[in-house]
């Protein structure tokens, strides 16, 4: 974990999302599925984002503006500086034989970087609208389904090693369908580095910190 003030290189539209490109500075990109805490200008707390792209000298984040924090981040302009901490948490286990990336909506965020590190495995992505689905262009080898079709409807009988990120209902469904799948979960986070105990999920009757034990967890490991 490292904290740096870094400069915004560019803020580009991708469908309804923003692709925020930051100067990498001394920050390490980490493993796909790990995340960074980004300062949200004017807000008290930073917000967690998976690393989406890791070109040399840059860190790229795909942002969906849904509330005050993400809106402040989505409005950042080239040349502005924000505080960034990371990489944080545990990313995906990349030692998989037959990877299949399964994502829904903004859950596509970690996949461009993950796909690159796994040499372009097949991906199955679900979106609300064709406009949202424009983000699929960031992921090679992607099959796209649109609402009302769900990614779980389109899942092959033998899906292989599933690496998934998306809304909780999608991950819950995968948890039942694909034991051992790697699921990138979300919880509201204040710190992202184990300090606040705010991000807990239940596991074996106890609450564990998702930012420390996750955000990527194994289906069937008892983490909700």
């Amino acid at each position: 974990m490292q904290t740096e003030r870094v400069e915004v290189v560019a803020n580009e539209g991708v469908g309804p999302y923003r692709l925020l490109r930051l100067r990498r500075s001394r920050l390490q990109p980490g493993t796909p599925g790990q995340f960074f805490m980004l300062e949200a200008p004017g807000r008290v707390l930073p917000r967690p984002f998976s690393l989406s792209l890791a070109p040399t000298r840059e860190l790229g984040f795909l942002v969906e503006a849904i509330g005050p924090g993400t809106r402040a981040i989505a409005r950042l302009e080239a040349g502005e500086e924000i505080r960034v901490t990371g990489p944080l948490g545990n990313g995906f286990d990349l030692s998989v034989r037959r990877p299949l990336l399964v994502g829904g909506g903004i859950g596509v965020a970690p996949f461009p970087y993950l796909s690159e590190r796994l040499n372009g495995p097949p991906a199955l992505l679900g979106f609300r609208t064709a406009h949202h689905a424009e983000a699929a262009a960031l992921v090679p080898n992607a099959e796209v389904v649109l609402d009302p079709t769900l990614v779980t409807d389109a899942l092959p009988d033998d899906p292989g090693d599933v690496l998934a990120c998306g809304p909780a209902p999608m991950l819950d469904a995968l948890e039942g369908l694909v034991p051992g799948a790697q699921l990138a979960r979300e919880a509201p986070m204040a710190c992202g580095y184990g300090a606040c105990y705010g991000c807990v999920v239940e596991r074996d009757g106890w609450y564990v910190r998702l930012c420390v034990e996750g955000p990527v967890v194994r289906a069937g490991d008892g983490a909700v």
Binding site: M1, T3, E39, R43, V44, L45, P46, P68, G69, R83, T85, A187, P188, M189, A190, C191, Y193, G194, A195, C196, Y197, G198, C199, V200, V201, G205, W206, Y207, V212
Partner: protein, 295 residues
Amino acid sequence: MGVPLLNASGCLDPLTAPEVARSLDVVVTKTITPLPRRGNPPVRIAEVEHGMLNSIGLQGPGIDVFVDDHLPRLAALGVDLWVSVGGFSAEDFARCCERLDGDERVSAIELNLSCPNVEEAPETAAELVAAARAATTKTLYAKLSPAQWDIAASATAAVAAGADGLSLVNALRGLALDERTLQPRLALAVGGYTGPGLRPVALACVYACAAAVDVPIVGMGGVVSGRDALELVAAGASAVALGTVLFADPLAPGRIRAELGAEAAARGFADIANPSSPLVVRTGKNLQTDENDTA
């Protein structure tokens, strides 16, 4: 020599962020209770205007696992360590203090007399301090709630019961509702409000208590800059604790230490930690004699 910087209890896990722990002068543990506690169900946090709400509910391993398992690893960090203890009765406080009494790895005990997220003990703060005092010879800091009309009276009673210092302040109770549904954003509805919004409240509490008692005060509440820390010192604190700011900025201790030095120097207070420095003489006790009686 500067003003010692601590973390506020519950705002840092030194074992997951040892580099942050080492950047502080004193590390304070999250409040430990006699028995293990699961804590409150999520959602546990919500950002609000000028701060955040938390409803952690004193999740922790209990004093026995803490001493046997966590304490050796905390001691290995090589930082000055205070243990925060809490509970639901005088007996609970006594039990935790007894277990830590004589343990050289612990340099002081902070008594959390004021968690906004759990049931209160039936005894008064002073009775809890007295029970702790009877159980240990260690330095005891009493951590008080800002949600009382006359905090100086509680401070006076806590010191009379054996507290060696005060930690001021804990969180205020707050509620946040979802914009659309108007349902509480936290699972248990009400949580502890911390962050910048707490700053003037903390300042008033430190000011009132510094005038009433003659013990060291750790000031905290909404500090995000060296200037905020300096104001707490000016109001009577001899050390400053960082809470919510650590979530946004793990480098806050180093930054605030540097800013504090610069802010003090800019005002001509070269040695703010020295009790005879002009800053402490002009404020603290001196403020007490001002005509302004609202404190």
